[in-house]
Symmetry: D2
Subunit: 396 residues, 4 copies
């Protein structure tokens, strides 16, 4: 499921949807591969709106969601499932695709506008409890609290989900600088585990390299506190060397001009290997991940997992299929050393390589961040446009 939580009923922002993977399997030493790029992939395929990002596709176009599930599943067991849904419909699709497979279904919650608007613990927990009720009724296998920018709210979510008695995973969308109140990643991890999470990590907001640096800090924090948990990582499929602590949403390119930042399959293989070496066993991806990126994780870790994904029937490792190309210089690219060392050109000589993220200095509690019932008016937009001037790498 996940998406119910991912994009809560009260209207949340973009986030990386979740894929489940059970605590028990991780305990048994399995590697779990998660794909959370569903919303942004469905936007490009025409089923989801950018802005509200509500994945009503689960209800309106179940065949499209099923098709994407199929492309993204990296193996016959289809462990990664149940991702996009609006409440019950999503659960039903996930259950159906998982049916007859040895698969798990997860239900998830994510950060709430309620918290950002400054409400108290009881009010925020009530929102989470409402969502939890559906997941319990549908009897999902485990629960995920994901996409949190503030550890305080994330811990509230974990505490609420833990009331169900099911295993809980928890990820934050933070980088090495920590949460938006400045709590460092190591301390965040400690608080999540103390609140009841048995899997902790990061998702969304930053590129693979940055996410691994963050999880490393989490791991070190847990070790220093003598706590134990499985580690999880679901980065963007976009390079974000220029992101500050607030992540890719502040980049001027978000969400409609991120193309030049898309990672290659080789970037993903490198990421999967480093994640594995770091001790992470729930290795996935978030916004921007396409089925071929997920396949790259599965191919890189095939030696450890003992099998190649089904999708690799049409994909020779490290470009080996190119040995059949008609041009000899393309045949010469049929090897690991070539792709591993290539520095791909951007093909955009009039564009910079980095951006200055927008960041208007407004934080929790600021008037501009208050939830409003009505659509933004023309007048409000015009005022925003004025503020924007001189703020990004617009040429005009």
């Amino acid at each position: 499921m996940g998406a119910a939580g991912l994009v809560p009923a009260d209207g949340a922002e973009l986030c990386g949807p979740t894929s489940g993977g059970g605590k028990e399997r991780l305990d048994a030493g399995e590697i779990v591969i998660g794909d959370g790029g569903f919303v942004i992939a469905l936007e490009k395929r025409g089923y989801v709106k950018a802005g509200p990002w509500t994945p009503e596709a689960a209800v309106e176009h179940p065949e499209a969601v099923r098709q994407l599930h199929r492309e993204s599943s990296d193996e016959d067991k289809l462990e990664n499932n149940g991702k996009i849904s609006v409440n019950e419909a999503a659960c039903d699709i996930a259950k159906e695709v998982a049916k007859g497979e040895d698969a798990l279904v997860a239900g998830g919650v994510s950060q709430t506008p309620t918290y950002l608007s400054g409400r108290d613990e009881a009010e925020v927990k009530a929102i989470f409890r409402q969502q939890l009720d559906v997941f319990v009724k549908k009897n999902v296998d485990f629960l995920i609290a994901e996409y949190f920018e503030h550890i305080e709210e994330a811990a509230w979510a974990v505490e609420t989900l833990k009331e169900s008695g099911k295993p809980v995973a928890a990820t934050m969308c933070i980088g090495p600088e920590g949460d938006l109140h400045g709590v460092p990643p190591g301390e965040c991890a400690v608080q999540l585990v103390k609140a009841g999470a048995s899997i902790v990590g990061v998702n969304c907001h930053f590129d693979p390299e940055t996410c691994l640096r963050t999880v490393k800090l989490m791991k070190e924090g847990l070790e220093a506190a003598k706590l134990k948990a499985h580690l999880m990582s679901q980065p963007l499929a976009f390079h974000t060397p220029d992101c500050g602590k607030q992540g890719f949403i502040d980049l001027p390119e978000f969400p409609f001009a991120l193309e030049p930042r898309i990672v290659t399959r080789w970037d993903v293989q490198k990421y999967a290997r480093e994640a594995y070496n770091l001790g992470i066993r729930y290795i996935g991806g978030c916004c921007g991940f396409e089925p071929y990126h997920i396949r790259a994780i599965a191919e890189e870790l095939a030696p450890e997992r003992g099998f190649l994904p089904l999708a690799s029937e049409k994909h020779g490792s490290w470009g080996s299929d190119l040995s059949m190309h008609t041009k000899p210089w393309v045949r010469a690219r049929a090897r690991k050393e070539y792709w591993e060392n290539l520095m791909p050109a951007s093909g955009r000589p009039y564009c910079p390589s980095m951006s200055k993220p927008d960041n208007w200095g407004v934080t929790k509690g600021a008037a501009e961040l208050m939830q409003q019932k009505e659509a933004t008016t023309e007048q409000q937009l015009k005022e925003l446009f004025k503020k924007q001037k001189f703020k990004s790498n617009i040429v005009a």
Copy 2:
């Protein structure tokens, strides 16, 4: 159909598959939107192999092909259809999707290894005629000769297809420098029309801007020769400012590290507008085009066509849905001026912006280009690897 021709039975290289659009509709002043990015999209979705690029997906995974058809169709009439197939299976899928819609089905051929290996006109035409027989049997609506690097072979293809009496479109994968024998675009266009084509243009190999420059030269050539034809354009969805006359296959990034070059939807809108202004009425895309790129063409030309594509139900023009985002600086991006003028950063500060294309100076007739029955041997590959050294922007 298209793909049957696009990737001929005797095993062709990558090319941009075709989408049909009838001469009669163009005669009547309609705009036709074509999507030819099927093979590369199916590779990423896991159904096609890079290297041989044979789209057996039509037989093996018809549901995946149908799904992609649905996402790419930019309107209720589903004019653009029947694209990927292996001979008859492809025809059948195309016919099925078109059924009940006011749609056309096309059959196509493309350049042959036979020609590159130096065989004569009779032998090459025999190959085309063999393919034509299937299309005639399945009674496709019109025919396409596409993805030709040499005008000589392209003209032979048009002459063969024209034997059927059906309308013929013809595109070459050339840039402003002309075909690989140095024949300029204007002269190529003239020869194609004289051979019988009623629609001429370019597909694949170059980015939108370069393709438009090439079609402009074709148009000028036809005008100078007082000939008439409809114009057609199906560029890559990759920026290729660094490509020489041989196109993107020679770029070191081809085919597995092209991500940084992917065009944005705004690049596509700009392209669609300029193509329209240039007088092109068959406006499509080739490798790299995803459904949201095709949607961008349809959105840009909605005023001229009189309607928005179905896919735009979930896509406000020029980012207008962002007015509902929670961050005020993202709401400020909900307007045309923002996206139109943004210079997107690559997020890759360690990479260059342009590449030197591989080009080993081998041409038609060279031993290395000869078709060989057996797979490339390990020894042959090693010799190629040695040649490659110092040839591309590999860091090592």
Copy 3:
């Protein structure tokens, strides 16, 4: 001398000053190394104004001009001299520095505002003749017509200078696309030789690589016409891959933000070698060349010339002095392979790699290009500022 011509009394624009090298020496097979970067070097040292670029330094700060002469002279014979001056003062300095050395002094003329304002042949030749009189009186060794954008005016200049009976060199500031009326480089070279020039080539406006491509076309033009002349090349020390036919003055960075484009000494060595291989024997540099760039030419061609320049006493070839550095990884840079293959980073991740040149579409005869006696008024400037908007990579 040179500069007197280079920046004529009636107020010319920036141009690359000239350094002489005698026809006789070239005839005898010598290589001549010329440095024409004086004006822009003196601007940075504080002796010349950008805009008018009049090198009154010769009169006001003769010691600065002498010092720069000394640094730039690449050998004890000081062949390259007499560069910047205002009429007679410049001649006198050049003669003084050349005194006691086996050196030559040249006088030069360059394109005139008179021609751009549309005056006829007689009027333009009268300007050149006036300058020639001073050179004849001071008995310079040879004459140069340089920095011409139109072959018509350049040929007039050569014809005038040839009246003196002295050898004449002629360079144009054009690229491979030819002069501003579209006359190709090969045809320009032919006309210059027919007008009386015994040395022809290019100076200023383009980077070393582009200049060599242009001279190659000149050479081919002369060969086709069965004419003979020595070849000469004085490129910018700035990379200009993005320049159109009008050269670097149209780049938005001209003249005060060209730093990121400055060539390295290794770029210059590569240029010198390629120039030599192409048959060019008058190998120099123009705007942007600093003494260490000139030294690099002399070092690269030391084997052919038989000696190293004096300045190399403090400069080991290919970084060999670095073998004495304290850091081991810097010592590891003490070799040719390192510097030859290094792709230097720009350190400017927020900037693009290429620019779109300004080019307002005004040409000879346009009102905006008319010479005006009075300074540009505030009102005129404001109108220009308005035109500029949206024209360059200004961020605001």
Copy 4:
């Protein structure tokens, strides 16, 4: 003087030479402008060797040193002087240029190979005392300890210099991450002031922006410790966004391919303004600074200082002289808004924007860093070359 200390007799590495400015003047509220780019400027002019960087130019080419003094002095009072010398000769030149001007002469010391080789406090202080003796004999006005990577050694230097009773300035070549033992900038500043320095700051190793961030941390450290000192800043004239804690020497481009990183005069004006706003009153530059960069500081701070530098006679502020250019689009550049907002292109589309610094993980005490009496042998170099492979952005 400065340089005698800057490049000590026992053979130091590259560093930015110093220019003096007296404590008394700073106490009185004056702004002091310092130029420390002498060694690298003289290398390009042909008088100094890269590698050993010993400025024997003071002895061998006093006229070249005097000429550079003259170009760099930003005002008639010639406050900034006495920079490059070898011991006494340098003092003599500095005294001569300062003669008749209201100018100060400084003597300086910098970090020693002795310290890096692991010697104790007494040995290191003996080196400094030996240099101090010369400065005392020549009666310089004040003393500078500069270019230190370790606060321990810097404090020893300040303590030694302070024995003379003269005012002492102290700068370290560190960034925001602190000294090479990890001592943060704020703590470094505190220790320098406690050792006796009345002016503290940074020089060399990092670009203007990074240096200002470091000085800001120093300032905050002093405020927290309730200590007082004047602040000083002498950054590189190279952009170094990719430098780690060890500075620009580790960049693969050091020292012979730094051209693309050179700052513009507008970068310098921005730096000068921000430095002033931060409370820095000794505002200068180090390696890479040319006379026109120093002029830019003086022009930016002309309102505060009450006068323009002499060099500005030939340099209109913010490009105003361009109003006299012949091309209208260049005249349109005659204004502050243009240059202030321009993002200059690098003109290097095949190069990256950032580099990974070399850093072999060797620190104080490592065998490879030990001072050796003999030149590096061929064999030693070969071993270094092997280590280098895969370490930098070499293409091969």
